[in-house]
Structure formats: C-alpha cells, structure tokens
C-alpha cells in the first residue's frame, strides 16, 4: 500500500515537472528571439470601437509602425466601459485607452491612474487644436487627453435622388422641416426613420436629439448649466426640448413604424430604409459616422446618392450650433514609446488614411480637406472645424449615473410611453 502511494506521488511530481521541461525549452526560445530584435517595443491600445472602425484605425497607425518599428496593437471591446475600469482596478491597464466620456477621464485622473501628458505632447495640442478640445481633455490643470477621431452629430441625411424626383427643398428652420414632413406624409411617404437600440448603450440616440434641441431652444449657456446641474433636470427649458422631440418621435405618421419600432431598431440599421428599394423613409438625423453604416453601393457613391443638411435652427437667436463627441486618448504609462504614439496622434499624418477611408472627422487644425474620402465628408469637417458654437455631448459630460444611466433609461421610458414630467423628475432625482 505504502509503495503504491509512493509511486503515485512520484507520478504526480513527474507530471508536474513535464510542463516545466517544456517551459524550460520554451523559455530558451523566448530568450533567444529578443536578441535578434532588441528594440521591439509594444504599445497596447484599448478602446470601444471595433470591426471596420478598428480596421481603419489600424490602417492609420501603419505609417507610424513602419517608421518607428514600435508595434502598436489596438483592441476594441463591446464592453469597453466596464472593462477599462476593471483593468485599472486589476493593475493591468493598457498603455493607451480611447475614452468616449470626459467624465471617465476625470474619474481615472482623479484616482491617479492616468499620466499627465508631457510638454512635448501638450505643445503639439496647443499648436494643432482649438482650446475647446484641450479643455475637454484637462483635469485640475493637467492635460490628459488627445482627441483624434471626433464626430459631429447635428446632421440630417436624405436620399438625394428621391428628393430630387419629389422636388423637396432643404429646410432652413425647424418649422420648415416640420412642414416638409407634413408634405411628405401628404405625398404618401414616411418622413423619418429613427432607431435607438444600441445594446447596453440604448438611449444615446434620443439623448443626442434632446441635446441638439436644447442647444437650439435654450442656447449654449443654458446648455452648460444643464450639464453642470445648475438648472434642474426638470427645468422648463429641458421640458420644452423634450416636448419638441416627442411631438416628432411619438407620432406614428412621422416615424417609420412608430415609437415601438424606434425602440428596437438598431441605430446602425435605421439609416437603411432611406436607401432601400422602394425608399421607406425620407430623413434620418445622425452623426457623420452613419455613412459607415450605409449600404456598400451607397457608400461608394456618397456624393451622388446622399444629401445632408445641418439640423435647422428653432430659435433664430441661437442659430445652428454643432453637437459633437469623440474619443480622447489617454495614457496609463509614460514610457517613451507610448509618448511617441501620443505625439503621433496629434498630427494630421495619423488621420489622413482614416479620413481617406471615410466615416471619421478630425479636429486637427492643419488638416487637408482634400484627404477626405468625399467632398461630402470634407464639407462636414469644415462645418465642424469652423463651427461658431460647438458643444460636447451632454450625456458624456454628466455623471455616469445620469449620462450613462437614468438619462438613457429615461429616454427609453419616454419613447415607450411614460409621461415627460415623470421621466424628467426621475432623472432629476437620480442626480448624485
């Protein structure tokens, strides 16, 4: 019995040693390879965008990788917002992360996870960005974020050929737009296609609409007060914006499929009815990135197929402000190669290929509008860069409980039939 046990123990130990032997061999190889390329450095980047967008970003990084020999690996995750928090808690953060919300940057900076950008990067930001972008990337006097791809959201898209055939004209005021919608209904058409489903982030399409209307009815100062909670969330100004929005959204004749369809249509699928055969809807309000979601045939012929105009003004004194958003790149490590990547991101060189691939706008001052894939996108970029009033997405600036919580859920409630007053009161109550 005893000898049996001894044999068993020996067997177990052998089993354990076996992988170590393999390991010894493997380690040897691993030790050998770096000898040949002693300068192979890797920078790990992490963000929320993936799929095609990630492929385009990788394309934009290629010149840098070729020039410096630094290996830059970008990974995107659908669970980015949770993942980045977990990784920082776990002590395994990426070298660089692309944060969609300034609030998240402040949170991470406050807890000391982020490294402030060195002089070499901030001087480039000063040179190549307007101060608004630098402010959005700053916390407590230090600059942490570099904006790269950004988006502008206040656009209305339409099928150009269809409009030309029907003889519709681009509306210049909100009232004209509503009149046009009524005209379309009279012509037996559905004016709007809206979709707000976006997985765990469902709600942002509606918050974007709200914000655009807020900017147009109350102006940028009130908008800022709303973001900072100096006015309550159920303030009459907010209620007014919500009312204007629901008047359009909740009307079965204005929106394809009515409110129930809005809730479960994916935001990316919502643009499809404009270009289906036969055309199912005539207008779609969405950021510039929506071109990437249009059918292949349309994308390759944007200028002839797609028309776009800025969401018209409601109150003439506030004009047509531009609402936008964007990922800011922040660094968790200040190794020289990481700083090099950050410097690269401030240059137009890092944007050129992505601009050429389409679906992205950039805030860089030295950009060449001819590099964009189409004149259509170049025009959008001009609107963004030259906007008199530009405001960042309010929901990204509000505390997460509201901006990524009750504001989103509240909008979903609103569309599913809950009364405006109740929704706004609930959001107000949830403000931390």
């Amino acid at each position: 019995m005893r000898s049996m046990k001894r044999i068993a123990v020996i067997c177990m130990i052998m089993l354990l040693i076996a992988p170590v032997m393999v390991f010894a061999g493997g380690k040897q190889e691993a030790a050998d390879t770096p000898m040949e390329e002693p300068t192979q450095m890797t920078v790990r980047m992490f963000g929320a965008f993936r799929g095609e967008e990630a492929a385009r970003f990788n394309e934009a990084l290629k010149p840098f990788i070729e020039r410096t020999g630094i290996d830059v690996i970008y990974e995107g995750s659908p669970e980015f917002e949770t993942q980045i928090l977990i990784q920082t808690e776990a002590g395994t953060p990426p070298d660089i992360a692309a944060l969609p919300q300034p609030g998240l940057m402040m949170n991470l900076a406050e807890r000391g996870f982020l490294k402030p950008l060195p002089q070499s990067v901030t001087s480039k930001i000063d040179a190549n960005y307007t101060s608004a972008w630098k402010d959005l990337g700053s916390y407590n006097g230090d600059v942490y974020g570099v904006f790269h791809r950004v988006n502008a959201k206040s656009f209305v898209w339409y099928p150009k050929k269809e409009w030309e055939a029907a003889g519709y004209e681009i509306p210049t005021t909100w009232d004209e737009m509503i009149a046009l919608s009524n005209q379309m209904i009279k012509d037996g058409k559905v004016p709007w296609s809206i979709g707000m489903e976006s997985g765990g982030a469902t709600g942002w399409v509606a918050t974007d609409w709200m914000e655009d209307i807020m900017l147009r009815t109350a102006g940028p100062e009130v908008y800022d007060k709303w973001v900072n909670h100096t006015i309550a969330f159920d303030d009459p100004a907010v209620k007014k914006a919500a009312t204007i929005m629901t008047d359009l959204w909740m009307d079965d004749s204005y929106v394809l499929g009515g409110p129930t369809n809005i809730l479960t249509t994916n935001f990316g699928d919502a643009v499809a009815p404009l270009f289906s055969n036969p055309t199912q809807a005539m207008m779609h309000r969405q950021g510039n990135f929506i071109t990437g979601f249009m059918p292949e045939a349309i994308q390759s012929n944007l200028v002839e197929e797609v028309g776009v105009f800025a969401l018209p003004s409601i109150d003439p004194q506030w004009g047509t402000p531009v609402l936008g958003g964007g990922d800011q790149f922040v660094m968790f490590s200040d190794r020289p190669e990481v700083i090099q990547v950050m410097e690269y991101l401030t240059t137009w060189e890092s944007c050129k290929d992505w601009a050429g691939a389409g679906g992205a706008l950039f805030p860089h001052q030295d950009q060449d509008f001819n590099d964009y894939a189409s004149t259509l996108e170049a025009d959008l970029a001009k609107i963004l860069v030259n906007a008199e009033v530009f405001r960042f997405d309010a929901s990204d600036l509000m505390p997460a409980e509201v901006g990524a919580g009750t504001f989103w859920t509240g909008m979903a409630d609103l569309v599913s039939g809950v009364k405006i007053d109740k929704v706004l009161a609930q959001i107000e109550k949830s403000w931390p």
Binding site: M1, F49, A55, Q83, T92, F293, G358
Partner: protein, 307 residues
C-alpha cells in the same frame, strides 16, 4: 372507474398513452423551435435573414450557405475602399483560438473544485471535529452569495499577488464560486453511503485518505459526473468572471463567450454571424452533457430522494 373491467381499463390506458405522448411531443416541439430557428438562420445569408422569417427558407434549401460558419471560425473580413480606389481587406478575430482558451479555462475549473469539494464533503460527512456543523452551515449559507460582490475585492487581492489575467487566477475564481454548490451536492451523496462500507475499510487499517481515494471516490462517480456537467456548462458559458479576471491579458486569451459578444458587429446586427457563433459555442457543452447524461440523474438525486 372503480367498477372498471380489465378490458375497459386497458382501453383507457391506451387513450391515456396517446394523450400523454401527444402532449409530450407538443411540448418538445415548442421547446425546440427557438433553437431550430437559430440553427436554420445560421445557414442563411445576411440579407435574407433581415428580409423574411427563417421558416420561409425551409422551402428553398438550396439557398443555404456555410459561409457564416467559415467567417466565424476563420475570422470575419472587413473591407473598405480607400480614397485612391484600392480596397483594403483586413481579417477580424477567429473563434478557434477562443475555443482552445475556453478549454484551458474550463477543464481545470471543473476538476479542481470537484476534488476540493469531494475532500470537504467526505470530511463533513465522516470525520468528527469541532465546529463541523457550523462550518457546513456556513458553506450552505454561502450558496446565496451572488458572485458579483466578490469580483472587486478579489480583483484587488489578485493585483497584490499578480494573479490577474492568469489561468490560475480564473481557475481559482471559478473554484471559489462553484465550491459551495459542489460541496453541498457531493455531501448529499457521500453522506448517504452506508456506514458499514466505511467501517469495513477502517477495520482493514486504511487511513481516511486511502478510504477516500480507493473507496469513496469510485463510489461517487455519478455525483462527481453530475456536478461536472453543471460546472462545465456554467464555466463554459460564463461571461462575467472571464471579463473580470482575464481582462488584463488582452485578446489573445479571450474565451468563446467573449468572442461571441464581439461578433455583434459594429455594423448593425449581424444576425447571420451571431447565430452561427452561438451554435459553435453550444457544441461542446451539449456534447459533454449527452456524454455524461446517464450519470447525471443518479448523482444529483442520491441525497435528496431519501430525505
């Protein structure tokens, strides 16, 4: 009924049998329909998936394609046109590596807790030591603890000892979260093994360890297998624990569920790929289940039936 003759009894019995079978078949059809829909969809192309219901395609089986599976297994292609007209194609992530990772995560995460729980169940059932009842009560009490509350504290502990993103870390996490149920189930079984069997072993002079390894483990195979099915399915299908404890290691150590989540494309909903991916992820747990099924019932039940 009380006066029923044998003949009419037989007749009612056949009628009953027909009804029983009819109801059962009806339930089975309802139960299969959702999965069948996904299965059929996984063989259709993107446009027809969005265009009409999967049942309509049953009349045109020639349109079925295995394209979705090859995209899921080998990686999805992304293509876009650059401004100079060249088309850039880049290949997305494939599921094969994730499959191996899932296996690496799952097998030890199933065996380690079984081993530890079996030892503990034996200890609680057949060893006498102070605090036995209280300890066991605590373990059953821990069945209710939602694992979410443990994630952040454990993550911080792991950071101190460098376990984040390692296989050992996630095995231990799965062990910790599955151990309460494992101990509870195995105790149910091991405690019902007749005392006489054990006593004869002790008379032969065997130690507890020997008795356990030689006698109890082989006798408990049904219980071990039934828990193994449970834990296998749970670990294989787990998303949350993997998201938390493997997150720092990057995409090279992603498991199948994580990969499945990323298939939900950035371009709308890629139903055709999602359904194929869902099916690939189901294959192994279903196989394990059918392979170990015959043990399942005996093992799970042993304790509670007697009660």
């Amino acid at each position: 009924m009380a006066q029923a003759t044998p003949k009419s009894m037989k007749k009612t019995k056949t009628v009953q049998e027909v009804i029983v079978n009819a109801v059962l078949i009806f339930i089975c059809i309802i139960w299969t329909l959702p999965t069948l829909g996904v299965f059929v969809t996984s063989f259709r192309d993107r446009d027809s998936v969005l265009d009409n219901g999967w049942w309509t395609s049953l009349s045109t089986p020639s349109e079925f394609t295995t394209q979705n599976y090859s995209q899921v297994l080998a990686g999805k292609d992304y293509s876009y046109t650059k401004s100079d007209g060249t088309v850039v194609v880049s290949r997305g992530d494939n599921m094969l590596g994730a499959f191996l990772n899932s296996i690496t995560v799952t097998i030890p995460s199933v065996i380690i807790p079984i081993l530890i729980a079996a030892f503990a169940a034996y200890g609680f059932a057949w060893l006498d030591f102070p605090g036995r009842k209280i300890l066991f009560g605590c373990i059953v009490g821990l069945l209710v603890v939602p694992l979410q509350i443990a994630l952040i504290p454990i993550l911080r502990d792991y950071m101190k000892i460098g376990l984040n993103g390692s296989y050992l870390g996630i095995w231990l996490a799965h062990t910790g979260f599955g151990l309460a149920l494992a101990t509870y189930l195995l105790f149910n079984y091991i405690s019902t093994i007749p005392r006489s069997i054990m006593e004869s072993a002790f008379l032969d002079g065997a130690s507890h360890f020997t008795t356990f390894v030689r006698l109890i483990l082989p006798l408990s195979v049904p219980a071990l297998a039934s828990f193994a099915i449970f834990q296998f399915i749970w670990v294989w299908n787990d998303l949350l624990v993997a998201l938390v404890f493997l997150s720092g290691a990057g995409q090279t150590v992603e498991v199948v569920t994580q990969r499945l989540l990323s298939i939900v494309g950035s371009r709308g909903q890629d139903w055709h790929l999602l359904t194929a991916g869902a099916f690939v992820s189901m294959l192994l747990p279903l196989t394990v289940f059918f392979a170990l099924q015959r043990f399942f019932v005996r093992g799970l039940m042993a304790g509670s039936v007697k009660g």
